[in-house]
Each structure stands twice: as structure tokens, then as C-alpha cells.
């Protein structure tokens, strides 16, 4: 399994709590983490396997 780090908003001074935080250029992410404004969450980068299409059985 491979993971990527994603940031989630904790404080409403940053945005909607719970939503993903995408830092703009120049933003000090470490300071936001240290201050408790956002949290880092590991998310899987693997995509779920596609479901096989099963043809319905012909009606008799």
C-alpha cells in the first residue's frame, strides 16, 4: 500500500473544519501543524479495483 499526506482543516480560522487544506505558495505548513490549525492525514493512493461486470443470466 502506498500513502500520500493530505492536510485536514481543524480551525475555522483557516476554512471549513474537516475539509482538505491545500496550502498556497508561501504558506508555512509546519507552523499550521504546530499551532493545531490543520492535521496531516495519510491517505491511500491506490485505487479500488474495478468491479467485474457480470452479465445477468438470460431469462428463461
Amino acid at each position: 500500500m502506498t500513502y500520500a499526506v493530505e492536510y485536514r482543516i481543524v480551525s475555522d480560522l483557516i476554512g471549513q473544519p474537516g475539509s482538505v487544506f491545500v496550502p498556497k505558495p508561501g504558506v508555512n505548513v509546519e507552523a499550521l501543524l504546530q499551532g493545531g490549525f490543520i492535521v496531516a492525514v495519510a491517505v491511500s493512493t491506490e485505487t479500488a479495483p474495478k468491479r467485474r461486470k457480470v452479465k445477468p443470466a438470460p431469462e428463461e
Partner: protein
């Protein structure tokens, strides 16, 4: 006729944190160091534009509660960040430019400034960085 705008609701953002509700004064200065080009025979000093040396100064109510002013500023001391000050809360536009310093240094932070019977305020200065006045919504 000259007009002046009464600003009662400017927007202040430091490192993406909205500090509007803690800020009582804000200024952003676009500044270039003047380089002296005066030569012999001239009677007045003349200058050309040198390096940009911009500055943003904020007066903030200092609170140590979680995710408020101290939590915003303390991790930034000695690092660079982005500061945005806008006249109003509307979208960026020619009449509401987002004055931005990107990569400005917070060199020092007064961590306590107590006076009897007064709310605690501190003045913080962000120095340098790239200045822009964003007018694109």
C-alpha cells in the same frame, strides 16, 4: 475632490489564518531602497529604485487560547510566510486589492505585553518578501 476610505472591516490573514477578529491596526508598506545617484555639479539629491524592502505591521490582541493569535505566530518566528491585508471582505478587485507579502520574515514576536486593566496587544512586523496587490477575484 480627494476622498478617503473609512476602513472598519479590513481582512487580515497571516499564513492562511484569518486574524481579522484579533487585529486592531494593520499597515502594508511597499518600499524600495533608494540608491543615491547624485553627482558632482548637482544641487539636489537624485535616486533610483533599489531592492524592494516591503513591510507589514499588525497590531493584534494577544491570546494564548488554542488556535488563536499566539498559536498562529509563535511557530512562525524566524521563518517566512504570507501576509494578506484587504480593505474589505469582498473578493479581490481593483477597488478591493489584496495587498500581499509572500515570503515575509517574522523576525521577532513580543510574547507578553501586559498592562494593568488593559487587553494585551502586540505589534508584529513582517519584513521583506515579494509584494503584490492582487485584483483578480
Amino acid at each position: 475632490m480627494a476622498t478617503s476610505q473609512y476602513l472598519s472591516n479590513p481582512v487580515v490573514t497571516v499564513n492562511s489564518v484569518a486574524l481579522t477578529g484579533f487585529c486592531t491596526a494593520a499597515s502594508v508598506i511597499q518600499r524600495f531602497e533608494p540608491l543615491d545617484t547624485t553627482t558632482f555639479g548637482e544641487t539636489d539629491r537624485t535616486y533610483v529604485k533599489g531592492l524592494g524592502n516591503h513591510e507589514a505591521t499588525l497590531t493584534l490582541l494577544l491570546t494564548y487560547a488554542a488556535t488563536q493569535t499566539y498559536a498562529t505566530l509563535a511557530p512562525l518566528v524566524g521563518t517566512t510566510t504570507t501576509v494578506v491585508v484587504k480593505p474589505t471582505s469582498g473578493a479581490d478587485s481593483a477597488t478591493n486589492p489584496g495587498f500581499t507579502l509572500t515570503g515575509a520574515l517574522l523576525a521577532e514576536l513580543p510574547v507578553i505585553n501586559a498592562s494593568l486593566g488593559e487587553l494585551q496587544t502586540v505589534d508584529v512586523v513582517f519584513q521583506g518578501g515579494v509584494y503584490s496587490a492582487d485584483v483578480t477575484p
